[in-house]
Each structure stands twice: as C-alpha cells, then as structure tokens.
C-alpha cells in the first residue's frame, strides 16, 4: 500500500503548520498593527514575502513522490504554482464581485498571491500532477472517507481559507462605513481565520486518523 512508505507523522504535519503560522505571524509583526486596514497592499506584500519561502520550502520537503522527484523539482513546481494559483484565485474573486478598478489592482494581485500561498502552492508542491490527489483537494469527500495524512494536511487549511474568504465577504455591503469593509481587507481576515481553523481541523483529523490506523493494526 502506498500509504506505507510516504506516510508522514502527525508531528511533522504539526511542525509544518506551525512554520506556516510563524510566517503569517512574522508578516503581521513586520507590518504592525492595523497595517492591513491602512495599507492593504503593503501588508499583503509582506505576507507574500514572508510566507512564500516558508510554504514552498516546507511543502517541497514534504513532497509525496520522494523517490522520483527531487527537492528542487518540487520547489520549481511551487514557484510555477504560485502565479497559476494566484490567477485562479483572482478569477474567482473577480467573478464573485471583487472590484476591477485601477486603484484596486495592486491589492488584488497581492491578495491573490497570498491566497495562492494558502491554497494552491502547498498542493502543487506536494502532489505535483497526481490527478487523484487533486481530485481529493477539489472535493469534500476527505471528511467522510479516511485517506492519507497529506490530504488532510493540504486540503483542510485550503478549504478553510477559501470558505473563510467567502464568508468574510458578507459584511461588505453593510452600511457601517468602517474602513475594513473595503476590498480586500475583510476577505483577507476571513481567509486567514479560515486558514487557521483549517489547520487545527487538519491536526485533529490527522490525530483521529492515526488512532484509527493504530487501532486497525493492533
């Protein structure tokens, strides 16, 4: 069974998540309090700069096909995945109503790069072109049928980020006239919150999965 040789431990997954979280925290610390509201483009750029090396390095290290694919090949996959994912995220956001005016371009680009780092790049690094794994990322069946630890590790934060961003857009039409209701601020907040929730969910799922596997082998 394939899961035997490429299975990673719960601890590794937790460490990966902690590293990613540290990247976000570093970006937050560098930007300072409230920077996302006052200058979203700058804050998002910091997120991209801090998070990109960490995410690509960590998930390339955790790549699935360790034998056939070198670390650098995985890094290259991540680097290609970054703009591709950004394009997909930007498409989704614009179709859902993100403004396309010139003054929003920069923010939209950085936002979609950041979203790509939270959603697309990890999967690109780990899975490469494995169709069956991409299928799992796209569907929600992982929550019902037990599969690999990697799938939990990748999919849950990704789904969390997308769902969080989607929910984060809801307060935008309210007439509270707060600065954070602007695009892409509250969407980013939602995405990060969803990402963090997704991380913890993935850890819980991994723990449950490990216990189940151990129970089965015993």
């Amino acid at each position: 069974m394939r899961a035997e040789f490429s299975q990673i431990s719960a601890l590794t997954a937790a460490a990966a998540h902690v590293l990613c979280f540290a990247g976000l925290a570093a970006a937050h610390a560098l930007a300072g309090r409230g920077a996302l509201v006052s200058d979203p483009a700058l804050a998002l750029r910091l997120v991209v700069v801090c998070e990109a090396p960490i995410v690509i390095a960590v998930f390339s290290y955790l790549r699935r096909d360790t034998q056939s694919c070198s670390f650098f090949k995985a890094v290259a996959r991540g680097l290609i995945g970054l703009p591709v994912g950004a394009f997909l995220n930007a498409f989704g956001a614009i179709v859902l109503g993100a403004p396309v005016g010139i003054k929003y371009w920069i923010a939209t680009i950085y936002w979609s790069l950041a979203m790509s780092l939270l959603t697309f790049v990890p999967a690109a690094c780990v899975f490469g072109t494995s169709k069956i794994d991409w299928q799992n990322v796209l569907s929600h069946s992982i929550y019902f049928t037990p599969i690999d630890v990697e799938n939990y590790m990748i999919s849950a934060p990704c789904h969390g980020a997308v769902l969080g961003a989607w929910l984060g857009a809801w307060p935008m039409p309210l007439d509270w006239e707060r600065p954070w209701q602007e695009w892409p601020i509250c969407v980013t907040y939602g995405a990060v919150a969803g990402y963090l929730v997704g991380m913890s969910v993935s850890l819980v799922l991994i723990a449950v999965h490990k216990r189940r596997v151990r129970a089965k082998t015993d």
């Binding site: 396309v100 929600h140 007439d175």
Partner: protein
C-alpha cells in the same frame, strides 16, 4: 402521485394567496381618519371628553358661512383669491440651492423672474419636505389636506379615486368660492365635482414634454383675464416628464424651467393688476427627482420639493432666500387655510408657516397659531383618548418639571399649557405701553406655540398606525403552513426519487453523501433569509444574489473539473460516459461530441455564465445607498448616443444569431421551423426599426411611427408565439425516424423524441421572443445585459444537458432561478420604487390605459426572472428522463410528472420561503425607522415577485401539459391506425 402533488401545490398556492392578502389588508390599512369637515367648532377651545364627531350643524349657505368664519376667527381673511401653481417634480434645489448656497448660475439664469422676486424679498420659499412615497397623487392629497395617507396610496396612484377627507379645496368651495383647474387630471379624479371649469391632461403619457404644458398654458390668457374664479389650480407636468426622459441634467431642463418662469411672471403680473392686491400666488412642486429623473423613494433629492409664496403679506424688508428654510409639505394646508379664512382641515398635522404672515400684527399671528393648535389638539384627542387641555393646565402646577423622563403625552401636555399660558400673558400685556415688552411677550408665546406644534406634528406623523396584530400573525401562519406544504411535498418527492435512483446508478457520482452545490443552495437560502432582516442588505440586495449565483456556478465549475479529472482516469471514466449517449436529444448528441470536446464545452458554458454574470453586475453597480458608484451604465449615459445605439444593435443581432444557432440544433428542419425563424427575423427587423426611429425621437414629444412599429411588433409576436406553441406538438413526428426503422414498436424511449423537439422549439421561441420584446421595451442602456441574460439562460441549459449526472435536477432549477434574480438586479432594478422604468411602459400604447401600461411595467421590471422561467421550458425539453426505459409501455402522465414537477415546485418553494420570511421580518420591523422607506417598498417587490413566479410556473406547467396531451392523443390515434 402526480395528481396528489398537483393538489398539494395548488392548495399551498391558495393558502399563500389568502395569507398574503390578509397580511396586506392588515399591514397597509387605510389610515383611520377623522370623518367630516371642520366647521365653526374650529374657532372654539376643544372641550374635554368625547370627541364630538357625529353632530353636524345644518349647513349654512356659503355667504353666511363665510361671514360666520370671519366673525369667529377674529381676523379678516388676508387674501380673497388663490393661484396654486404645481410644477410636477421640480426639486427645490433648482430654485433655492442646497446647503445655504444659491443654485448654479445656469439654474439661476433659467428662472430670472422668480429669482428676482426672491432677491427682492417679494417671495418666501421653503424646502418643503415631501413624505414618501414621492408620487404625485398622495403628495397632492397631502398638500390639500395636511395629512399623509397610507402607504398603499402608491398602489392607488394608478387608480385614482375621489378624495373624501376634509381638505382645503372643499373648504374653499363651501364658502362659495369658484374653482378652476388646468393641468394634471389627477385633480379631477380627486375632486370630480368641484371645479367650475377644468381641462385635464393625462400624466401617464410620460414621453410627451411639450404638449402637456401647452394644454395648460393655452387657457392662461383667458383665465387670468376672467374675474369669476377665486381659486385657480395650475398643474404643469412637463418638467417631471423631462426628468423621466433625460434626468436632472437633461438638455430640455433649462428650457422647461424658463417656460415655467414665464408662466410665473404672467400670473404674477395679472395678480398685481388685481384690485386691492388680494391674490395669493403659491408655486409648489409635489416632489423632487433623483439624478436619473425618477421619483417614488425617500432620498433627499426626491423629497426636496418647493413651496414658494408670492403676495403682499410675504414681503419683508430683509430676507435671505438661500438659507435652506425647511418646512414640511403638509404645512401648506394650514397656512393657506388661515390666510384665506377657512377652518383648517381636520386631519392636518402641518404647522402654519411664519413668513407668509409677515405683514400681520402680532395678535393676529398668535391667533392663527392658537387656531392651528386647537385643530391639532382635536386630532391628538382622537388618537389619545384621554388627552385633555384643562387637565393639562390644572396638573401643570403640581408636576415637577422633569420632562425628560415623562411620557410623550405628558410632554405634549406640558408644551401645550406653556403655549396657552404665555399667549394669555401676552394678551394681558397688550395694553402695555412699552413696545419692547409687548414684543418680548409675543416672542415667547410664538416660540411656545411653535414648540408645541412642531413636536405634536412630528409625533403625529411618526406615530405608526395601529396594526391588528392577531390578523397579521394569522396571515403569517397561513403563509408558513403553505410553505411547509411545499417543503414537505418537495422532500417527499426528492426522497422518492433518490430511492428510485439508488438501485439504478448505485455507483454513479450522484450517490455521494452530500453535494457541495446542494449544501450551498441550502446555506445560501438560509443566509439570504437572514440578510433580509438587515436594512442595508435589503437596500443592496443585488450583492447577495450575484454572490450566491456566482458561487453556485463556481461550484459547478469545480465539479466539472473534478469530473474531468475523474473522467480521464481510465478506470473510473467509462461508467459515467456510457450513460450519456443512450437516448438523449441534447446539444451534445446533435453535434456528436467526443468526450474530450464535451468537457471543453462543459467548462466553456460555465465560464460564459460566470463572465456574463460579472459584466451584468458591473452594468448597474449601486443599489439604493451607493447609487453614485461608477458603473458601465453611467459611463454609457455620458458617452455618445451612437455608442448606445450600436450596442443595442449588437445585442439585437446576437439574440437573433443565438436563436438561429439554437434552431439548427433541431435536426428536424421542417418548413414549420423555418417559418418560426422567419417570423422571428421579421419581428427582429421591427425592433431594429424601432431602435433606429427611437433615437431621433428622444427630443420630440411623441413619435407616432415608433408607436405603430411597436404595436405591429406586439401583434406579430403574439400571433407567432401562440401559433408556435399551439402547432409545434402537431408538427414533429411522434417517434424519431431512426427509432422507427430500428424497431417499429412504440417503446417509450423513442416516443420521448417528439415531445422533446416540440418543447425545445416552444422554449427557444419563448425565450428569443421575450428577448426581442425586452430589447424593444427596456431602456437602450440595458440592451447588452439583456442579451447576456439570454446567453446565460441558453448556456446554462446547454451545460445541464451536457452532463446530466453532475447535478441533480432541482439544483439546476434553483440555479436558473438564481440567475433570474441576479439578472433582475443587473438590469438596474433596486428595492426602491424609484427604479421602476415608467417611460418604457407606454411604448406602443396610443391611448392611456392603466391595465396595459401596468402589464408592460411589470414585464419590464421582471424581465429577467420571467426570461429564466421561460428558459426552464427549454430546460425541461433537454432534461434526461432516466428511468423511462424501465417502463413497459408509454405512460404520458408519468412523463409529464417527471418533466414538470420539479421546475414548477422549486420556484414556488423558493419564492414562498422568501415571501414568508420577509413577511415575518416586516412584522418584526414594523416599528423600525426605515419601515416605510426601505422595508415596505421591498415588500411590494416581494409581492410582485410572487405574482411573477405564479405566471412563470403557470406558463411552464401549461406548456408541458398541452404538449403531453397532444402527444397522448396523437400516439393513441397512431396506434389505432396501425392496428
């Protein structure tokens, strides 16, 4: 099963209608008003105890009544004659500027005479705030009666009835004055027997801007010379029509204002010639207009109406006309009544305005304020039974002045007694030698009076009318029960279906535990229902619908990609592919697509829907709050008209091409299909002619050639649609040709072909003709969004026909309905009554007809949802009836049931959900600040959407039933013949 479902559905619909009418009756009551007319009792202190409503003194002859009033009031009437000039839709901003700034130079120059009067302090002007709904008839009623009618006056705006409440004109008539009316015929409908001479013009012919005003002005010379009348009402509609056509900044606007200024000059000159200078000239507007020239809502632009008084009592040595003098529109009634010496109308809650009383003595002014206070006190007594003046005065001494914590009644009481006592002390000091002392007493008395009057007026206008709660709750219960009926029917059906499907496609994709799209539909409906409780989500509802629709289609996209990944996986792919090519008539089989190509088509159709949806969303950006947001329609409005025209022609061509392409998919290219195509082309040609002709006519009043083109279109389109619908089930062969050659039996699988073809033709004809009709009716700017909605409809149907296992049928139906709602807002509709396109409702109508223009208005407003309902007919035709092959022999009722149940039930269910939850929201919000400005107009929209759903579902059901009946008949006769 089918009959039971139909029975339940009809029962649910009937319950819903009953609940809805009960709720409407309870929530929008005809406001309880004081009956009868004010008489001589208006000049007496109102007594405590029961309000004497019934006792009617024997009517005095007019002359005696007049002298009686003069005697009782103690003030001789200030004026004998009144000219009331109503300029429909003139915003006060045009004359008085905004925020203490005079209007723009252009505006100043377009009304030179009026501005000179203002500058010379010969006139006093107010920003008279009109109450919503800002449409003509309720506003006229408010001006003459001083009371604000119920909300549903809007609905009666198109069906004016005689005004029976106490009002200024009737009072003037009672003291024997002669009235003459020229202008908007609304006045004649309100007061059918009052005027000695009258010439009414119709306000419904919005495209005409010249003729309406000429019909008024042509009498002016005669009437101004005539001495027999005492009240002359002039109502000019042209300016409102200019606004409806071109908005505030229309090129015709300054010209129209100059014309109005000229009328003011003429009337004023004539009134100056009058002996003794006893004519009061009042210029008012009934409401303002938005930037786009519409009205109906409650924005500042719409409620900012003008009240301008010209007469000898107004003149004063100094004045500041651009000082943003605020007043209420209802203040007009008491002011005019007091100046002309008649009792104030009974239901008035306006307050007499100070400037028109400038030339009066202090005592006279206080007397007028006293009369006004007495009248309002009577009204208060009717609303608060225990309210009593004497008790107020008696209790005054004992109460510690702790007003802040007192009830409103106590506060009113306090203000009132303060006013009366200060008036009393001012009266005592009348003989005082010191002018300054006298003026000081007058000042405090007047201040106290205004304090009471303003407070009482505000309280009366804000006081929500009592709503019978038990009635509303039972209405809601009825609606909830109907909603539950629908829900249980649907859940039974779905359960039944999924059971029957389990044994068929046990391995297919359908059997995953829960689907993302289904979860989204449920969660989205939940979020939507929640969002209705927030006024900003109601105001900006377009965001909700666009967001939900796009999310649903994005999920379709991921599912399509997911199935592609799965499909290209050789082990899993085959199973799904096999089920496609069995017996389906669809876009896919018509072109014999390979699986790879089919995948590309699948993705493309969704992408088209998504991108088109985004463009539509950008076309009309703002809702109610954010009207100023830049969007494509505003960009085009500023652009050259040729751009708009070419866009119109492009979208027209696109609709025709799309229709032709769809027709070629019908493999049966009979003469009949070609005939349908030709009539469509011809109708399209008429629309094209209309587009071209209309371009020239925007500056001209009425263009009769365009009206006749439109009428020809109506006739030809309706004839060809009904011919298509009636004939198409007879034309197509019952069994497809290849099926007949293969096995000559009447197996159900083959029989389905004929009905599919027929329904397909009917559906595509419906949608394409509907598209053409809308291109004719809608504003030119909406042409591209209309085409895009048509495109979305067709590509959704194509997508759903390409892969039938991907989404359940009910999700497809819901997706189509979501598209309809998103498109509804994309065409510029909002939840404010101001966005209704009135101008379009008169295209092709020669004589004024309430019913016809109402229908046209409905069709324009609900263009997009109706388009999608018609598209559902198309969708029915390509729907896969999976277990038809298991049937031993042909059973038409079964096919009908399979085809039409879900497309009929789901729109009803979703609408019922929205209606019921919004009704509950409205009940909870009945004391909310925005209840009349935001929530109630939205409720009217919800009711109209319910009607729209009924119409759509009726069309779907009837088309399918008719087709099935014909095919059943034909199949039976075929069998008889072959035996």
């Amino acid at each position: 099963m089918g009959a039971a479902v139909a029975g339940w559905t009809v029962a649910a619909v009937l319950l819903q209608v009953a609940g809805l009418s009960l709720f409407l009756y309870g929530f929008f009551p005809v406001k309880p008003t004081l009956r009868g007319f004010s008489g001589e009792e208006s000049y007496q202190v109102p007594s405590c105890g029961s309000v004497s409503a019934g006792q009617q003194e024997p009517a005095l002859p007019p002359d005696q009544l007049r002298s009686l009033y003069r005697e009782l009031s103690g003030i001789p009437p200030v004026y004998d004659r009144l000219v009331l000039m109503v300029i429909d839709g003139l915003p006060a901003e045009f004359v008085l500027g905004r925020g203490r700034k005079p209007p723009s130079k252009e505006m100043m120059e377009s009304m030179p005479y009026t501005q000179s009067l203002l500058a010379g302090c010969k006139a006093a002007a107010y920003h008279a705030k009109a109450a919503p709904p800002t449409v003509t008839m309720p506003r006229l009623k408010a001006m003459v009666s001083g009371a604000i009618g119920g909300f549903l006056d809007v609905a009666f705006n198109f069906n004016t009835q005689a005004f029976l409440e106490d009002n200024l004109l009737d009072q003037l008539h009672m003291i024997g004055l002669k009235l003459v009316m020229l202008g908007d015929e609304t006045w004649i409908k309100l007061f059918p027997t009052l005027f000695t001479r009258q010439d009414g013009v119709s306000s419904f012919y919005v495209k005409d801007t010249v003729e309406v005003d000429f019909n008024v002005s042509r009498h002016l010379e005669f009437e101004l010379a005539a001495k027999d009348w005492s009240v002359l009402v002039l109502h000019y509609l042209g300016l409102d029509h200019v606004g409806h056509i071109g908005g505030r900044r229309s090129v015709l606007m300054t010209q129209k204002m100059k014309e109005m200024d000229d009328v003011i000059r003429r009337v004023h000159a004539a009134s100056l010639l009058d002996n003794m200078n006893r004519t009061l000239f009042v210029v008012v507007s009934d409401h303002g207009m938005t930037e786009g020239g519409n009205h109906g809502g409650s924005s500042y632009e719409e409620t900012d109406s003008l009240a301008l008084f010209i007469g000898h009592s107004v003149e004063s040595p100094y004045c500041s006309p651009y000082d943003q003098n605020e007043a209420l529109q209802v203040d007009l009634a008491p002011t005019l009544a007091l100046l002309l010496g008649v009792p104030i109308p009974k239901n008035n809650f306006g307050v007499v305005l100070p400037e028109p009383l400038n030339s009066l003595t202090d005592d006279q002014k206080l007397r007028m304020l006293e009369l006004n206070s007495w009248q309002i006190l009577r009204l208060l007594q009717a609303q608060v039974p225990a309210f009593c003046l004497e008790e107020c005065i008696n209790s005054e001494g004992s109460i510690v002045l702790d007003i802040l914590h007192e009830s409103i009644e106590k506060k009113l009481c306090h203000l009132l007694s303060k006013a009366f006592s200060s008036h009393q002390s001012s009266r005592l000091h009348r003989g005082s030698d010191f002018k300054s002392v006298q003026a000081g007493y007058y000042g405090t008395a007047a201040d106290n009076y205004y304090g009471f009057l303003r407070y009482a007026s505000e309280w009366l206008s804000h006081r929500a009318t009592d709503k019978p709660l038990y009635l509303l709750v039972s209405a809601i219960l009825l609606m909830t029960v109907s909603c539950l009926f629908l829900m249980s029917t649907v859940s039974c059906l779905l359960k039944g279906r999924s059971l029957s499907q389990v044994d068929q496609h046990s391995e297919s994709y359908l059997d995953q535990r829960c689907h993302l799209d289904e979860v989204l539909v449920l969660a989205g409906m939940f979020l939507y229902v929640i969002s209705l409780g927030s006024s900003s989500f109601v105001e900006e509802e377009q965001y909700t619908w666009h967001f939900l629709t796009s999310t649903l289609y994005l999920i379709f996209l991921t599912k399509a990609i997911h199935s592609m990944l799965k499909g290209s996986n050789p082990t899993l792919g085959h199973k799904a592919e096999e089920s496609f090519d069995k017996s389906n008539f669809s876009y896919a089989t018509s072109f014999e697509l390979t699986p790879g190509k089919r995948n590309v088509y699948k993705l493309c159709t969704i992408l088209i829907v998504l991108v088109a949806g985004r463009v539509i969303r950008a076309w009309h950006q703002g809702g109610i709050n954010w009207v100023h947001f830049p969007d494509i329609s505003k960009l085009l409005a500023q652009a050259d008209s040729s751009v708009v025209k070419s866009l119109q022609i492009i979208s027209f061509l696109a609709v025709v091409v799309l229709f032709s392409v769809s027709l070629t998919l019908l493999r049966a290219r009979s003469k009949f299909v070609i005939g349908v195509w030709l009539t469509h082309i011809f109708c399209g040609f008429l629309v094209l002619l209309h587009i071209c002709a209309n371009q020239i006519s925007t500056s001209l009043p009425i263009n009769h050639s365009t009206a006749s083109i439109a009428r020809q279109f109506y006739v030809i389109a309706s004839v060809s649609i009904s011919a298509t619908v009636l004939a198409s089930p007879w034309v197509f062969p019952i069994f497809s040709t290849e099926a007949e050659s293969a096995s000559s039996g009447s197996s159900p699988v083959k029989a389905i072909h004929g009905i599919r073809n027929s329904l397909f033709l009917t559906g595509i004809t419906y949608t394409a003709f509907w598209g053409l009709l809308q291109l004719l009716l809608q504003q030119p700017i909406n042409a591209i969004p209309l085409f895009l909605i048509f495109l979305q409809t067709v590509s959704s149907v194509v997508h759903f026909s390409l892969d039938k296992t991907l989404h359940k049928q009910w999700v497809q139906v819901v997706a189509m309905q979501f598209l309809g709602m998103a498109g509804h807002f994309g065409l510029g509709n909002t939840n404010s009554l101001a966005s209704i396109d009135v101008a379009g409702a008169f295209i092709g109508i020669s004589s004024y007809s309430t019913v016809l223009s109402g229908i046209l208005m409905f069709m324009i407003t609900y263009a997009s949802p109706l388009m999608l309902y018609l598209g559902l007919v198309l969708h029915v035709s390509v729907k896969d009836i999976d277990d038809i092959s298991t049937l031993r022999h042909l059973k038409w009722s079964y096919i009908l049931d399979k085809m039409v149940t879900l497309p009929c039930l789901f729109p009803l269910l979703i609408n019922s959900l929205a209606l019921t939850s919004y009704t509950i929201v409205l009940l909870l919000m009945r004391n909310h600040l925005f209840v009349w400005s935001v929530f109630s107009p939205k409720y009217l929209y919800v009711c109209a959407a319910t009607v729209c759903t009924y119409v759509g579902v009726f069309v779907i059901a009837m088309t399918a039933v008719y087709n099935c009946a014909v095919f059943k008949f034909r199949a039976r006769s075929y069998r008889d013949k072959s035996q």
